[in-house]
């Protein structure tokens, strides 16, 4: 492969296709963490939703039923996480890691038990979520640039991609312009003050976990019934942690977090494109080094060298009502 094969347009298209996995999970984490609950279990919820969505979609031959079932399991796990970190006042970091490890094992065991294919589900075939072709695509397809822009970059994605992008302003509005959003932020910044103002801290945090559960399930469903067309062991492959990173990167704000997700999606696309490409004067750049960039950038941000990342103040602290 030579430098000429390096295509910027296909990197942009892959960026759009890579970002939703991170966006759904990061928005899920945003709700949980803005309420004061650290959500390290994004990875586990994604995996569980990916498996259940794929399994139900395969059995019923209907991707929508699969997505709904995925929402159910992800919400159930989020509520369990809520029970441990809110009701039991347990260590939220430990709960998250424990759920990730447990679900990494359990999804494999159940997938193996039902499908006997080495812990994956059969190919979904028809039950995969179809790509939407925008009206008039055929007419503009031949036009240079505009054809690519309309049919490949904006059009030709599945409904979940559009949902992910539509979510950004919606989450922003919920967080900053609704009563629920105000309470959510108050509970995450100063639960005692919120409690004194008559807000039910535990209930608000459970509501946040509910939102996190629903949103996170979409990222799992996106992995299995849009991107790959089957469930595979540990297919979330660190995306849950990466989403959390985007959240830290974006300072727990919806718009900035979404930008972080796009950046990570871009680097993932770049890594695939750049593998084996010979650059003039540089030579081959190993994919594993490109893979490292988003993490290194995040550490630099965390170190406060580019901008200061300020977490919600009450994050990670169980709320104990003062008497």
């Amino acid at each position: 492969m030579m430098f000429d094969d390096f295509q910027f347009s296909s990197i942009l298209v892959s960026t759009i296709r890579n970002a939703p996995v991170l966006m759904f999970a990061a928005m899920a984490g945003l709700f949980a963490e803005r309420s004061g609950v650290v959500d390290l279990a994004l990875e586990g919820k994604m995996l569980a939703a990916a498996f259940v969505s794929a399994a139900v979609a395969f059995v019923t031959k209907n991707p929508w039923l699969g997505i709904m079932a995925g929402v159910g399991i992800s919400v159930a796990i989020a509520l369990l996480q809520g029970f441990v970190s809110i009701t039991q006042k347990g260590n939220q970091l430990v709960a998250g890691i424990a759920l990730n490890i447990a679900l990494s094992g359990l999804t494999f065991v159940i997938a193996q038990y039902f499908f006997q294919q080495g812990g994956r589900t059969p190919d979904l075939g028809e039950a995969r979520l179809f790509d939407i072709v925008l009206p008039g695509s055929a007419a503009v397809a031949g036009i240079p640039f505009l054809g690519w822009f309309y049919t490949k970059l904006i059009g030709g994605h599945s409904a979940l991609v559009y949902l992910a992008f539509a979510l950004i302003p919606v989450v922003h509005w919920v967080l900053y312009h609704t009563r629920f959003g105000l309470r959510l932020r108050a509970v995450g910044e100063n639960p005692h003050a919120a409690d004194a103002a008559g807000i039910n801290v535990e209930r608000t945090r459970f509501m946040a976990m509910l939102c996190a559960g629903v949103l996170c399930s979409f990222s799992g469903a996106y992995l299995s019934i849009v991107q790959s067309g089957f469930f595979l062991r540990d297919m979330s492959a660190g995306n849950g942690y990466l989403a959390l990173t985007a959240l830290v990167f974006g300072n727990w704000r919806p718009l900035h977090t979404a930008l972080g997700c796009l950046m990570f999606g871009f680097f993932a696309a770049l890594q695939v494109q750049i593998e084996g490409v010979v650059f003039p004067g540089i030579g081959k750049v190993p994919g594993s080094l490109i893979q490292m960039i988003p993490y290194v950038v995040t550490v630099i941000v965390l170190a406060g060298l580019m901008a200061k990342s300020v977490a919600p103040k009450a994050i990670g602290q169980p709320f104990v009502k003062s008497r």
Partner: protein, 360 residues
Amino acid sequence: MNQADLPRWATAFALPLLNLFSALLVAAGVIYLLGESPVESLGILINAAVLNPEGLGYTLFYAATFIFTGLSVSVAMQAGLFNIGSEGQMYVGGLGLTLVLLWLDSSLPGWLLIPLAMLGAAVFGAAWAYLPGYLQARRGSHVVVTTIMFNFIAASLMNYVIVSFLIPAGQQNTASRVFADASWLPKLNGILPVLGETPLNISFVLALVALVIYGVVVWRTTWGYQLRATGLNQHAAHYAGISISKTIIVTMMISGALAGLAAVNSVMGSTHYLNLNFPAGAGFIGIAIALMGRQHPVGILLSSILFGALIQGGFDLSLEKANIPPETFIFIQGLIILFCGAMENLYAPALSALLKRKEK
């Protein structure tokens, strides 16, 4: 109502055991749903991991790695730091000892080579933990998030180093060359032939020594006192004249060194070469071990053996029962962390009420 109302034996033994049983009960439920008998499975597991001498050898072999990662997480927890990065520190520690061995294993005798390689592992592990420690102490970035990042960076970096530099010419396997015999750790079956052909080696003895040193340093030295004071109340420790940032950085480096030493058992004691992803989650199991063992040397030893037994027994069980793959034990590990680490006080109110009733 919390732990403070309970006597020491209850918080140290009764609660962890109740939580462990709860986790195993859920696991038994899953095994039942998979169509196998939980009681029969437990029998096979205990037999394969503890009663059979060769199985016991494997159990202790795994435990040696877990003692080091468990100590790594524990020592950081003593200072109130949650080091999720033991996995990456162990991985990079493996690189440290590999570089020493690739450079010197043809020219030095074993008695000099082995300690040097261990030093390499500890130094690399400590260096990898230094930056998260520094960032927490001086720049206020949370060590949990930075160590997660460092795990990913370590994985990419090691992939790059192994694929680009360490694979011998003409080989396909993503691993370094096999080290010379001089660096292979002496096996314990030389002294105890009953253990059979297991990879159990002297690093288990080193792990026991490390447990004793940890106990003495944390509870019997000035530095240990500073460490615990920092963990209990940073502000109070600061007013007592303890340098918080220095304690944090030094603790993270010790934690990293211990994680690095965890690589010694599996790389120098068993495979004798560095391969891709060799830590295989041992760093995360270290978190479980530190939590379950309540950062106490005896607790760390017992929970390391428990996790070693689960892995060894689980592997044998999966050979006999097709419906119970080894991954079942990843699930069970997660359950144990959930019950013993996050829901540690689940039974505290009930136990406390029970004890109060007895007193009357």
